[in-house]
């Protein structure tokens, strides 16, 4: 019976995979290239490798810092500090633990936090730019739709929204609860659900 099945159904022929990469695989390839570049930088201390990394990451790091609510000039400074740390700490980068993007994100995050704590007044006194809450929500939704792509876009809107407010806008869970008018417990349970899905989806990247 076993033999007959194996001969009869040509499983292998049907399972031939096309050579084209999915968008997710392509992104992984890009990430791997930057991780390799950062690893080379650590070994060679070659400034042209650093300039390449700068070209890709510096504008994104600055974009992240701007989203946390810092004025442009401060964001530029903090970006410079974060990128200087990339140069100085490159030897601590371990690509089996994190991608270059993740590692640089954590450096940029820590620099931003340090700056916010030092310049607390400046940070908290920033004026709110969007007074209309309805418009604000629509803006967030369109950003989610545009940029979070694939993995994050597969999350239900409520989960993607809390993820966005937390990571992109630096809002605490309590602030998110207040802004969305939902209990703190709901913010957390949405994040937990998002996390368990992303964990499965991004398993390979970690």
């Amino acid at each position: 019976m076993q033999e007959f099945d194996a001969e009869g159904g040509d499983v292998n022929a049907a399972a031939v995979t096309p050579q084209t990469l999915t968008p997710e695989q392509r992104r992984k390839q890009v990430r791997d290239e930057w991780s390799a570049c950062l690893t080379r930088l650590a070994e060679t201390r070659d400034k042209s490798e650093f300039a390449r990394l700068f070209g890709y990451f510096a504008p994104r790091v600055k974009s992240y810092i701007l989203r946390l609510g810092m004025p442009d000039a401060t964001a530029e400074e903090v970006m410079q500090e974060a990128m200087l740390l990339v140069w100085r700490k490159a030897h601590l980068f371990n690509r089996t633990k994190a991608s270059a993007s993740t590692w640089i994100f954590t450096l940029a995050r820590n620099q931003s936090i340090d700056r916010m704590r030092r310049d607390k007044v400046q940070f908290y006194e920033l004026p709110e730019e969007e007074p209309d809450p309805e418009q604000r929500d629509m803006g967030e939704h369109s950003i989610i739709a545009e940029r979070m792509q694939e993995a994050i876009a597969t999350l239900p809107e409520g989960q993607a929204q809390v993820l966005h407010l937390s990571y992109y806008e630096g809002k605490s869970h309590s602030e998110i609860a207040e802004q969305l008018g939902i209990p703190l417990g709901s913010v957390k349970s949405r994040l937990r659900l998002a996390f368990s899905k992303l964990k499965a989806h991004w398993g390979e990247e970690v």
Binding site: L84, Y167, G170, S189, L198, W202
Partner: protein, 219 residues
């Protein structure tokens, strides 16, 4: 170290996103120092930030941004270690996780503990920003009626152990509480229990002792 109580996923996500108040971030960093399991988990929550960074629309930089940074690359390095990720030799008490040891700079027995009630002493870490962070030192057999108030509250056991409605908590364990949780930790060995407690709202005690303690804590 045999750790059996860990953080909620949501707490690690807030840590990765950089949105925890200073004291809570310190407490998470301390537990991570001791807990390989949560270090693995935080790699996942950090990678959410990395993936978001990849998806961000690049911002315009100053015209000479790259050149001015290239000019700085050969500057001598100064002190730039952040306590959160530093792995250097801890100053002070080697029984403490490095981030806390560096902050305190002295062994725990030499710290200026303030008595705030029968068998309970504390040190307010007096960090800036929202929330509060303190060390609490509770004598054997003492029970501290305690009530979280709406916000989030993290407790990391540094020494000794306690028992409450939620289980037994030993060195390295964290209690990650939110909402309105009423619990009554009881120190269940003959050793002082020392914990780091960090909140994003003022800490409140309830019950008879709470009423006695509250004015002294000054909240």
């Amino acid at each position: 170290m045999n750790i059996s109580h860990h953080f909620d996923d949501a707490t690690l996500m807030a840590y990765s996103a950089g949105t925890l108040p200073e004291g809570m971030a310190l407490l998470v960093a301390c537990h991570l120092h001791w807990c390989p399991h949560c270090r693995d988990r935080v790699e996942v929550t950090n990678s959410v930030g990395g993936a978001l960074l990849d998806r961000l629309e690049p911002a315009a930089l100053d015209d000479n941004a790259l050149d001015s940074l290239l000019a700085r690359l050969d500057e001598p390095e100064q002190e730039f270690a952040s306590p959160e990720h530093s792995r250097s030799e801890p100053a002070g008490d080697s029984e403490l996780p490095a981030p806390l040891a560096q902050l305190l700079g002295a062994p725990m027995d030499e710290l200026p503990w303030k008595r705030i009630g029968y068998g309970v002493r504390q040190i307010d870490l007096e960090l800036k920003g929202p929330g509060a962070a303190r060390l609490l030192r509770i004598s054997p057999g003492v029970s501290v009626p305690h009530h979280t108030h709406g916000g989030n509250e993290l407790t990391l056991i540094l020494k000794g152990s306690y028992n409450d409605e939620l289980g037994r908590f030993c060195r390295g364990d964290v209690a990650d509480l939110d909402g309105d949780v009423e619990h009554q930790p009881l120190v269940d060995t003959d050793e002082d229990c020392i914990c780091l407690i960090a909140t994003d709202a003022p800490l409140k005690f309830s019950g008879l002792m709470g009423r006695l303690v509250q004015p002294f804590i000054g909240l």
